[in-house]
């Protein structure tokens, strides 16, 4: 275990936000879920107890009947926000006094730094480049992420769960978010920061980042694994079949998810075809990322589909 190496990575001023992220994201996820689950239980109780529902004046736990049903933003909300603003300012002040901007030497066009890493918030994107064509990972996927975030209001037909913490009423949305943000995005940022060393090789945390390390690693295209060497268009067709198969299987799985329970089915019935297809498309593409990561890391598959124009 090379603690010095681990410390070097963790203590880099560049990486402070990521180290903070590793603590803060789980904490706030837990904190939000604690409230959400308590509220869910309250909702269940009120649904079962109509009488209680009439007198219960808050959607949040804990409560007492004599408490005000509503409170004003000022001072009750704003003072909390003010307090938080002070705390954050203190943290930022200490941070900026103790750590200088991580500036480096003037760029040398004759020398590429190794590993050559993007800023922490882009490390996820950079990690994607390992698994996909630069065109897909660098252009298509980021565009889809942004467009996908933009279409959420238009395909989210769930009327419940606004203004309070709840998990039960927005299971689908919350799980999709957690999967997309925490599992895919943050894990990739983590890999990019802590695991990718010189030569963008895979170093488990605590391993020394040796610039001379050599590993045997051959990635092959799917058609090579299948032993198809007859050239195009067969190679393309094999890939298209595999992609088609993936779309069929994951489209079906996604559909199963969309119609998982009674509540989901109700929402599904309210969807137009365009809304449904949009949702399907984004989700199927999103699933493709972890699928490809696993294919690459476990089976060393380079591309599933190889065409003269693009590779997947």
């Amino acid at each position: 275990m090379d603690w010095a190496q681990l410390w070097e990575i963790a203590a880099k001023p560049d990486n402070i936000p990521i180290v903070a992220l590793l603590v803060l994201i789980p904490f706030f996820t837990w904190y939000g879920f604690r409230q959400a689950l308590a509220n869910d239980r309250l909702i269940a109780r009120l649904e079962n107890d109509k009488e209680l529902a009439k007198t219960h004046n808050r959607k949040l736990e804990p409560y007492r009947e004599e408490w005000d049903q509503k409170v004003y933003v000022w001072p009750y909300l704003l003072r909390v926000e003010f307090f938080v603003a002070i705390v954050v300012t203190v943290i930022l002040m200490i941070w900026s006094i103790t750590l200088n901007a991580p500036l480096e030497e003037p760029a040398n066009p004759n020398l590429t730094m190794n590993p050559s890493k993007a800023p922490w918030y882009f490390l996820g994107l950079q990690e994607m480049l390992v698994y996909f064509d630069p065109w897909i990972a660098g252009v298509l996927m980021p565009t889809l992420i942004i467009v996908g975030l933009m279409v959420i209001p238009y395909i989210d037909l769930n009327p419940l769960g606004n203004g309070y913490y709840t998990f039960r009423q927005r299971k689908f949305a919350i799980l999709t978010f957690l999967f997309g943000f925490m599992v895919l995005w943050l894990v990739m940022v983590f890999i990019g920061t802590f695991i990718r060393g010189p030569g963008w090789m895979w170093f488990w945390p605590g391993a020394t980042w040796d610039h001379h390390r050599l590993i045997f690693e051959t990635n092959r295209d799917l058609h090579e694994i299948l032993g198809i060497t007859s050239g195009q268009p067969w190679i393309g067709l094999v890939g298209a079949t595999a992609v088609g198969l993936y779309v069929a299987v994951f489209g079906w799985l996604t559909h199963k998810l969309i119609v998982w329970n009674e509540f989901n089915r109700k929402i599904y019935e309210r969807m137009t075809l365009v809304q449904y297809l949009t949702l399907q498309t984004f989700l199927v593409v999103m699933w493709a990322l972890p699928v490809k990561i696993l294919l690459r890391l476990l089976f060393r598959v380079k591309y599933v589909m190889v065409t003269p124009w693009f590779n997947i």
């Binding site: 010095a4 736990e61 804990p62 307090f83 203190v90 006094i97 020398l111 190794n114």
Partner: protein
């Protein structure tokens, strides 16, 4: 472990009585965090004002310690001053000054009196006169430019103006005013007369005060030359200055010298003096005087600062570091990962010189760097590693040879073209056409003549450069005649075992490889029989070896018993390896080759080759033509070892002595395998792989390139490009992951970066081990650290285009031929010879080779180039010193090329600031009367010149201690000769030449040792007379004098 205990759900926990949202108070946390916020603000302010400005504290400390030091210093300074002012000499000077001042007082008073009369008169007349003059001049102008009609009237006006009258009130000495009336002309005359008078008075004053002014100057320099530091008054001034010391960023700004990078130039901003406040103080501050704090010490070398004014050069251009940063020591010194120019460590300060002084081989104030460069070339680093400036000759030779080939091709083409043109002309249809073509052919013929001239010039140059090409190691083509066979593998396997100080490094070869390399070297050698030599007298040889100057370069004796120079091999065990016959020939003339090498045929030219062309087998610089074609041969050994011009007998004596230099029990195992041709084949590949030809001439490898990394810019290689191998992590953790760490360790153990690596034998690092001492490593590292891509604008590089350039170039030659081992080039420089036991006896100091300080001012450059070409100054009698036959040490023949000779001559001239070309001005010939007087002086009993100066008579020359006068006319410069006979002691302290031969009398030099009756009536300069005599001194004159 309460955190792991199952906690009740949120809704199951006890509910508080009151609504926490409306009733709880956030006041306490807000108050606490507000306080924290204020504290962070205070922290930020502290950081901004003091934390990030450590120099504020430093400057305050500096003022305090400096004040204390100054106060302590004051009485000491006062004491020293008092001692100087109280000294007899000073008092005498002061007395003399007072006397001189008193003596001129009456005369001065008189002048003052006259001035008092003259002054008011001049004042009174000046204004009216200048007014009148303006008017007259304006009237003249009007007249000149007027048209004819008005000329008459204007002329009249002018006439009136000239006539005046002008009335001026002239004050008289008694104070009364006398009214005088002048015409313009009279007034002008009067004015000019007064002016002349005033000038005369002033001139008289100057003349009068000249002696006292001179004395005052002497008085002042007397004090300032003896004061070791500032005066008491200056200390007082410094203290006052400190009282008004402003704590602020001390910054040097210069837009002209900042770093040049791809994106342009950054102005130089050096704030180093914000902390190092005492760097430029007039008082020399040591850490001791500054309370043990090295931070406040002044610059360790004032001279450097005088040459490189900090206002112009700043600090970081020499020292590196981050001159802008003021937040801390680490930042300011640039000792962090991303600063590309960290401060040079103290041991490597000299490295900073190289950025601008790349062209300098020798820098007076950079001894470590000089030593590094010396090591680099002496140890043969440049044999493998290209490095700009080092060993430029082979490259130059190749380019000259290529130019010659190109020109020859061009000549052929032009010739063919000419033939074609002529034949076309012959068949031309019209006469005009034929004429035109013939003209064209003529032009082409001219062109050929032009090419021939160029070819001639280049061929001369080629011959020149061929003489200049040297190799660090010996020529291995001659191993068969030179060496004992069995010794070779022993030597190759570890040269340091046999000769610990050798420059031949140890290659990491296994036994089989050693045998293979030895076999190739042996078999590639030339097979010739050398003439057998009879044995010599080793005792005589020892004397010759010790006295002729061999020890200037070579050493003898093992380990601590070694004496002599380190430039060439230690010869303690040379008898174990060498063949006597070869050694004799080598000592007799090291430049002599067994066979000449032809660069065009790429092989050695044999006697058969000469015979096939019906030519005698003769090759030397005068007979360098290849018998097989029209090109030059390499006819000399590429060695810097000079020819000492010993006779064959002497050579045999020295060789016999050297053959005795062997361990008695020396025995070497049989090495029959050296004749195995299969082994030799393997050896050939190894010789190529390990780059043996970088230092040695080896058959088949004459054109071999260098195998190592180019080191010209090695110091600015990014650290990522320096391969620390498996030690990278360790280097980073232990803090030596930097260029210095790399160079230091690589030089100490060149295989270090292979540690732990699994590599095929021939993939391993090839650099051999030179067994460098830590001091040598330090010097080489300094040189490498300094070898950088310069970021200083070229305008600030030291690249003079005047005399100083000749000095720069000359030092490369001086170093190449190790001239400094025998001769002194600058005052204070020690030579190898003067430290030898032989010369420790004060009487034997006369036997040291002459110092060359001021050589350029002393000798005629034309003579010097003749002397350098042949130091014997004779074609027939070569076994002698041409100038100083009495010296046992021999000025050898270096076989210099014409270019090198010219370079050295220009170097000496430039060192002495003598202009070139030099035109000798022969002194006036003597009249017969003067000749008689001069002879008398020359042979006067009080100073008979020929008692010490050589005359060319072997019997007396053995005791002489000065050069022959016959050389004077062509050798010396007359101005220097006069200075020399008058003041020899100031030109060459410690010389045998007596001082005080002449004394000054009435603005001239007269013979000072005796009263010579015949010269009493001679009013001219006696020293001048001697010089004139010496410059017409002939052999006949000498015979005449010696026969008396």
């Amino acid at each position: 472990m309460s955190i792991l205990r199952k906690r009740p759900r949120l809704e199951d926990r006890p509910v508080p009585e009151k609504d926490p949202i409306t009733t709880s108070s956030l006041a306490t946390p807000i108050a606490i965090f507000s306080l924290l916020l204020i504290l962070t603000l205070v922290w930020a302010l502290y950081d901004e004002i003091l934390g990030l400005r450590p120099w504020i504290g430093y400057q305050r400390d500096f003022v305090k310690t400096y004040q204390k030091a100054l106060v302590e210093m004051k009485p000491v300074r006062a004491q020293e001053e008092a001692a100087i002012y109280g000294s007899n000499e000073y008092q005498e000077l002061e007395q003399a000054l007072q006397e001189a001042e008193t003596a001129i007082k009456p005369a001065l008073a008189e002048i003052e009196q006259e001035e008092r009369i003259l002054g008011p008169k001049l004042t009174a007349i000046t204004k009216p006169f200048t007014t009148a003059r303006s008017r007259v001049q304006a009237a003249i102008y009007l007249l000149e430019t007027a048209n004819e009609s008005s000329k008459a009237s204007l002329e009249e006006d002018l006439q009136k103006l000239r006539e005046g009258p002008y009335t001026v009130e002239i004050p008289e000495p008694d104070g009364s005013l006398v009214e005088k009336s002048y015409s313009y002309g009279e007034m002008e005359e009067e004015f000019n007369a007064l002016k002349v008078k005033q000038g005369e008075l002033q001139a008289r004053t100057v003349e009068l005060v000249r002696p006292s002014t001179q004395l005052r100057r002497e008085l002042n320099t007397f004090a300032s030359a003896r004061l070791t530091s500032v005066t008491e008054a200056q200390v007082e001034g410094l203290l006052t200055r400190l009282d008004n010391f402003r704590v602020e960023i001390k910054q040097i700004y210069n837009a002209d010298i900042g770093r040049v990078a791809a994106n342009g130039q950054t102005p130089l901003v050096d704030r180093c003096e914000s902390c190092h406040a005492g760097v430029r103080e007039p008082v020399i501050l040591t850490p001791e005087t500054m309370g043990g704090n090295p931070l406040f010490a002044s610059h360790s070398n004032r001279e450097l600062l005088t040459i490189h004014d900090p206002e112009t050069f700043g600090c970081t251009p020499c020292h590196n570091g981050n001159g802008v940063a003021t937040v801390g020591v680490k930042e300011g010194h640039g000792n962090y990962k991303h600063w590309l120019w960290p401060l040079y460590p103290k041991a490597h300060f000299d490295a900073g010189c190289l950025q601008c002084h790349e062209a300098d081989r020798h820098l007076e104030l950079a001894p470590t760097l000089n030593a590094g460069k010396q090591l680099f070339s002496q140890r043969g680093c440049q044999g493998c590693h290209p490095r700009e400036g080092f060993e430029p000759e082979p490259r130059l030779l190749r380019s000259v040879q290529k130019s010659i080939l190109d020109l020859r091709l061009e000549r052929n083409e032009v010739e063919q073209e000419t033939q074609r043109t002529i034949s076309t002309a012959d068949r031309a249809e019209t006469n005009e056409e034929a004429d035109r073509l013939y003209n064209q052919a003529d032009a082409l013929t001219l062109n050929i003549a032009d090419i021939d001239t160029q070819l001639d010039r280049l061929t001369v140059r080629e011959a020149d450069v061929m003489l200049e090409v040297k190799k660090v190691g010996p020529n291995l083509k001659e191993v068969k005649t030179k060496l004992k066979k069995e010794w070779i593998p022993v030597w190759i396997s570890n040269p340091h075992d046999f000769r610990p100080t050798t420059k031949m490094p140890r290659f990491r070869l296994d036994e089989q490889q050693v045998q293979a390399v030895s076999a190739y070297i042996w078999q590639s050698g030339i097979d010739v029989e050398l003439p057998q030599q009879s044995s010599g007298d080793p005792q005589q040889g020892e004397i010759l070896f010790e006295t002729r100057g061999c020890l200037a370069c070579h050493s003898i004796g093992e380990e601590s018993g070694a004496t002599g120079g380190t430039f060439a091999a230690n010869l303690s065990r040379v008898g174990e390896k060498a063949n006597y016959d070869y050694l004799v020939r080598w000592i007799h003339n090291p430049k002599e080759r067994t066979l000449p090498y032809c660069p065009i045929h790429q092989r050695d030219i044999t006697p058969e080759d000469y015979a096939s062309q019906g030519l005698p087998f003769q090759f030397d610089p005068q007979h360098a033509q290849c018998p097989l074609g029209d090109h030059l041969l390499q006819v000399q050994q590429p060695t810097v070892m000079p020819n000492l011009r010993l006779s064959w007998d002497e050579s045999r004596d020295v060789a016999s002595y050297l053959m005795m230099q062997a361990h008695e029990d020396a025995a070497y195992p049989d090495a029959e395998y050296l004749d195995d041709s299969n082994l030799a084949k393997q050896g050939q590949a190894l010789v190529k792989h390990f780059g043996c030809a970088g230092c040695h001439e080896i058959s088949g490898f004459e054109n071999e390139g260098k195998i190592g990394t180019d080191l010209t810019k090695e110091g600015s290689k990014p650290i990522e490009r320096l391969d620390f191998g498996l030690l990278t992590t360790q280097a980073k953790q232990e803090g030596w992951y930097n260029a210095k760490g790399f160079f230091d360790r690589k030089l100490a153990d060149p295989s270090v970066w292979d540690q732990g690596k699994v590599k095929e034998p021939l993939e391993r690092l090839r650099m051999p081990n030179h067994e460098l001492s830590s001091e040598e490593i330090n010097q080489l590292t300094t040189f490498l650290l300094g070898s950088v891509e310069s970021v200083i604008p070229t305008t600030h590089h030291y690249a003079p285009d005047d005399d100083r350039e000749e000095i720069q170039k000359g030092w490369w030659l001086v170093a190449k031929y190790n001239c400094m081992a025998c001769h002194q080039f600058s005052p204070g420089q020690e030579t190898v010879l003067e430290n030898l036991p032989l010369y420790q006896d004060p009487d034997s100091r006369d036997q040291l080779p002459p110092s060359l300080v001021g050589e350029g001012a002393r000798v005629n450059p034309n003579w010097l180039s003749r002397f350098l070409r042949n130091p014997a100054l004779s074609e027939t009698d070569t076994n002698r010193n041409g100038v100083r036959p009495y010296l046992k040490a021999r000025m050898p023949s270096f076989g210099l090329s014409d270019g090198e000779i010219q370079q050295l001559v220009r170097f000496f001239n430039a060192l002495s600031k003598q202009p070139l070309p030099y035109t000798a001005v022969p002194p006036d010939p003597l009249s017969s009367q003067e000749l008689t007087m001069a002879r008398e002086l020359f042979t006067h009993q009080a100073a008979p010149c020929l008692r010490c100066h050589a005359t060319g008579d072997a019997a007396t020359d053995a005791d002489s201690s000065a050069p022959n006068f016959l050389l004077v006319p062509e050798r010396l410069r007359s101005d220097w000769t006069k200075r020399w006979i008058v003041h020899p002691e100031t030109i060459r302290p410690g010389t045998n030449m007596p001082s005080g031969l002449f004394r000054q009398q009435d603005q001239r030099w007269v013979f000072g040792l005796a009263d010579v009756p015949s010269l009493r009536s001679y009013t001219k300069d006696h020293a001048e007379l001697m010089v004139r005599y010496m410059f017409q001194y002939t052999a006949g004159e000498q015979r005449r004098l010696t026969s008396r």
